[in-house]
């Protein structure tokens, strides 16, 4: 009985993960190679051409998603790092208050948050409407339905996921190590560049992973804040699955997206060095 305990404890979760995580991936792989339509049904024909078709039609949106996701990730890193740095080293006894303030947006639903951005950025909304009324902006000025709005929305929505891991890494930096650098006559810049920054890299790595993947695959920001020229791969996959009921194309696109993201992560991990990756994964 004692030896069986862990298996009994793990059994329900195993079943859930097997039936609803592993099997669906296999189902999606299978559907991506089928042909047919929603009315007559689909049959397995091993049509690898589904992938070529899907990519031929939607490579623009796939590349655009990677581009937007990449831009947003870089923006989050640049915007977020100083915040994480300041809270970790200068936050003092109020660290948890700052972190709580950063997490405040998560008490509002993701969808509603994004829509509120739409409110703020609306052509005649509180911000631009007022500025236009004062004659500070030209009447045809707009941000909604542009790349700036979508990338800005992605940056806004995922920023805390960049700040937190970097903060955790910086928080673990022993202040005495930095102190030692100063004692050895390092300038503030040198101490940061040669001591603090390398020690924070695992946090940066985790932060980039936690933001790039969901930002690239996000359909909400492009739908709410973007125009017809900002459609991302997430919107296409949703439309193909849910509106067009074109399951093979949609499955092929989902698999391609996942493969591209995995390859991207792999290249990125290699570029940063395996040690950092293992270290980041171990945390």
């Amino acid at each position: 009985m004692k030896r069986l305990t862990p298996y009994l404890l793990a059994l329900p979760s195993w079943m859930w993960l097997a039936v609803f995580l592993v099997v669906p991936m296999a189902a999606m792989a299978s559907v991506s190679l089928q042909t047919g339509n929603a009315i007559d049904g689909f049959a397995m024909t091993f049509s690898f051409s589904n992938y070529a078709d899907a990519l031929g039609r939607y490579s623009t949106q796939l590349v655009r998603s990677l581009w937007y996701g990449g831009l947003a990730t870089v923006a989050m890193l640049v915007i977020g790092y100083p915040v994480a740095y300041w809270i970790a080293f200068k936050g003092g006894s109020r660290k948890s208050v700052y972190l709580f303030m950063l997490l405040l947006p998560f008490f509002v639903s993701f969808v509603l948050r994004t829509i509120s951005w739409g409110f703020l950025l609306a052509d005649d909304g509180v911000l631009f409407g007022t500025l236009k009324g004062w004659g500070l902006l030209p009447a045809d000025f707009h941000v909604l339905a542009t790349t700036v709005a979508v990338v800005g929305g992605l940056t806004y929505n995922f920023l805390p996921f960049m700040i937190l891991p970097i903060y955790v890494a910086l928080e673990r930096v022993d202040p005495r190590v930095v102190e030692a650098a100063y004692d050895l006559y390092a300038s503030r810049t040198a101490a940061f560049r040669r001591v603090v920054l390398p020690l924070s890299l695992p946090g940066v790595f985790a932060g980039v992973l936690m933001t790039f993947v969901p930002a690239t695959a996000d359909p909400v920001n492009a739908q709410v804040l973007g125009g017809t020229g900002n459609t991302m791969i997430g919107n296409i996959i949703q439309t193909e699955y849910l509106t067009n009921l074109n399951y093979p194309t949609a499955s092929a696109l989902s698999f391609t997206l996942m493969a591209v993201l995995l390859i991207g992560i792999f290249i990125y991990a290699r570029a940063l060095g395996t040690e950092n990756v293992l270290e980041a994964a171990a945390r």
């Binding site: 862990p6 669906p24 100083p82 509120s116 409110f119 909304g125 909400v220 996942m258």
Partner: protein
């Protein structure tokens, strides 16, 4: 003496102040949509769109449940969140105990699956579940939403409970057994109270993830509409102020629970 101090602590003051101000700027930026949401729940709007301020009213709080589809969507969201949280907490805690306390065959694979479930993009998770349900000819309704929500919250509960179990001293349980407690009695009176904070925070996380989810749900909902789905669906026609009010209330309750939890945790420590 002053010379050494200067070299050891080169110019800090101004940079620190700038960074302090910058941190607050980012906090304000992150919170601004919340302010907009709360404010426009009080907007006495006359036109169809709710984007410009037209005066203060409490009307939308009185007429909170007047849009029946919206009320149904909110009720669906709450039902799904409660059901999926209960299932997730039970099976996730069991898995967390197994991973944190026992060594067994397949532990590595299990850890990998837990990690995979966290890192799979929501879009891919939703798409693959729909592929399964379509292939198996399973109709989509509240049940399939609950299945999906358990799947994406499971790993979070498991990881939180596992972290708590690892810090637990096994000799406490051995002492209970030595004093004649049964296996079940030991679990109920020693293990469970010790891991309870982990179970509770995992459960709160699962509830929050469930009530907030749009992407996965949009694939597996069939004709059942949840709160986030209803909101997205009404973007084109204009979001009614009742949505702002519901968002404000959920925000208020969430913040209250989080603050109460933090205060309780601090009190336990001292």
């Amino acid at each position: 003496m002053s010379a050494t101090t200067l070299t050891r602590r080169p110019r800090g003051r101004l940079g620190d102040r700038l960074l302090h101000a910058y941190t607050w700027l980012i906090i304000v930026w992150l919170s601004s949509p919340i302010a907009v949401m709360i404010l426009f729940g009080f907007n006495d709007k006359k036109s169809k769109s709710n984007t410009s301020w037209q005066g203060f009213t409490l009307r939308w709080y009185q007429e909170l449940f007047d849009i029946s589809d919206l009320t149904t969507a909110l009720r669906n969201s709450l039902t799904v969140a409660v059901a999926s949280t209960l299932i997730t907490v039970v099976i996730g805690t069991m898995l967390g105990l197994a991973l944190g306390r026992h060594t067994f065959r397949g532990r590595g694979v299990t850890n990998f699956l837990v990690f995979a479930a966290i890192s799979t993009p929501e879009l891919v998770m939703g798409a693959s579940l729909l592929s399964l349900f379509v292939s198996a000819n399973l109709p989509r309704d509240a049940l399939t939403i609950i299945i999906a929500h358990v799947l994406f919250s499971l790993s979070f509960v498991t990881v939180t409970v596992r972290a708590r179990v690892i810090t637990l001293d096994p000799s406490l349980e051995e002492a209970a057994r030595d004093l004649g407690a049964s296996a079940w009695g030991t679990f109920r009176q020693v293990t469970l109270p010790a891991v309870l904070p982990g179970v509770l925070s995992g459960g709160m996380l699962a509830f929050a993830l469930s009530i907030d989810d749009y992407v996965v749900t949009s694939f597996v909902n069939g004709s059942t509409v949840t709160f986030p789905l209803w909101i997205i669906g009404s973007v084109k026609t204009g979001i009614p102020p009742q949505v702002n009010v519901m968002g404000t209330l959920i925000f208020g309750i969430g913040v209250l629970i989080a603050v109460a939890n933090a205060v309780a945790a601090r009190r336990r420590r001292t």
